[in-house]
Point group: C2
């Protein structure tokens, strides 16, 4: 834990970053590994095996090893992964070595909760600005930050060098806000409004929609209910499949 010389991560800034292009599925899991690693580090572990880490992250151990191999990270055979080193590696790949500034637009019901959330700061981000269109909200102070008017976005973007915009406005305003964010150079948006945003190429949008999550759960609930209703009657319920193409696996949800 003195000074490591990590292989993939850059010893120098400004040189070739050598970012391997990771599978998207891997990228989506890296934050989970990172959280698990931080827990392990806090618990005093110096190293961890793929088995242990995968259990902590809730994934298959082979998948974890493959994921880590993609970012060229070197574990030690017979030992495992150095926790501190792996944290550094993943944080570098995820671009968390610089603390990115986040602008939160829409300080309503949800926005208040987000503004007061300490999980931003502890996981590599900094809420740099709170913005709203409602004049009665402007000036309010939350968690040491004053709500500013959304029209000040251009100024704020320069002052704070905003990297990520978070939209927590009603759906009707979301596209307009997204346009404003894009106009000031924001290329990453997290959208809480239940609507699709259209943005120019090169801008990434991720969406969090509570109702969608609930509806997916509802589907499985529905399916589970219909399965228990007919324990061994018809087997799998194939409605109107024309040919003889039955499903490959008849039951997988209950077995194993």
């Amino acid at each position: 834990m003195s000074q490591h010389r990590h292989p993939g991560a850059p010893g120098r800034a400004g040189a070739v970053p050598a970012l391997p292009d990771l599978p998207e599925a891997t990228v989506a899991r890296l934050p989970e590994y990172l959280r698990a690693l931080h827990n392990l580090a806090d618990a005093g572990h110096e190293t961890v095996s793929s088995e242990g880490l995968s259990a902590a992250a809730g994934v298959n151990s082979a998948k974890l090893r493959k994921d880590l191999s993609h970012l060229g990270s070197y574990g030690t055979r017979g030992v495992g992964y150095d926790v501190a080193l792996l944290i550094e590696q993943i944080e570098y790949v995820l671009g968390l070595t610089q603390r990115r500034a986040v602008a939160l637009v829409g300080v309503g019901n949800l926005g208040h909760a987000l503004a007061g959330y300490d999980g931003f700061a502890s996981r590599g981000f900094r809420i740099a600005a709170l913005l709203d269109a409602d004049p009665s909200r402007v000036g309010e102070e939350i968690n040491g930050l004053v709500v500013r008017h959304v029209d000040e976005l251009p100024a704020v973007a320069v002052e704070e060098s905003i990297a990520i915009g978070v939209i927590a406005t009603p759906a009707a305003a979301a596209q307009s806000v997204a346009d404003q964010l894009v106009a000031v150079g924001v290329t990453s948006i997290l959208n809480f409004a239940p609507c699709v945003l259209s943005v120019p190429e090169g801008v990434d949008v991720r969406k969090v929609d509570l109702a969608i999550e609930l509806q997916i759960l509802s589907f499985h609930e529905h399916r589970k209910a219909s399965l228990t209703a007919l324990p061994a009657t018809g087997g799998s319920a194939l409605t109107a499949l024309p040919g003889g193409l039955a499903a490959t696996e008849t039951q997988e949800a209950i077995g194993t």
Copy 2:
């Protein structure tokens, strides 16, 4: 739009539900289609083409058609899909014909926002109970619902026939809350706490983690930055791939 006789949906309850087992990816998109369809219906559209609906939902039109074909839904060639009929079909498949009761555990910062959110009710759900462990929160009224102590969960589950549990407690308490939910028969959980939950087989857990979304955005931000830094220098940066196995596609992020 008088009384439709929809082919896949059941005319009778209690009979064989005939739920086709949809690909998981399809299930995850159905709610998006449903939202888009409701928008179209509100705008007065009677029918919609796969092209139009896919645009509204932000997906590829072929994908949409295949998704809809999976649930045996019949559009009309040359015309498109009947909006009202398709809404019925999807709501049936997702199990939204019955309004499911949701119990929200942890009425803190985030929990307050969720409790005050009208997007639950408008999309097929009913917040049936608010629960918290903090005695000073118990008794508080939010949106017409009184916060009850989490120990009352067994009673609440029976009274309201809870279908889905939402966890908005700190991570340290999440596993315990999940266990309690499972103990009273809840088989679907939406978890906002940044931790993995272990639950028995047959229980579905979905997770929403804000920091993960931000970190994924951060990765792409990082990648974009490193790409613009070297416009035509080294092409794709492969670090230490041993053999001659180069990536199949050298550049795909910029082209097209």
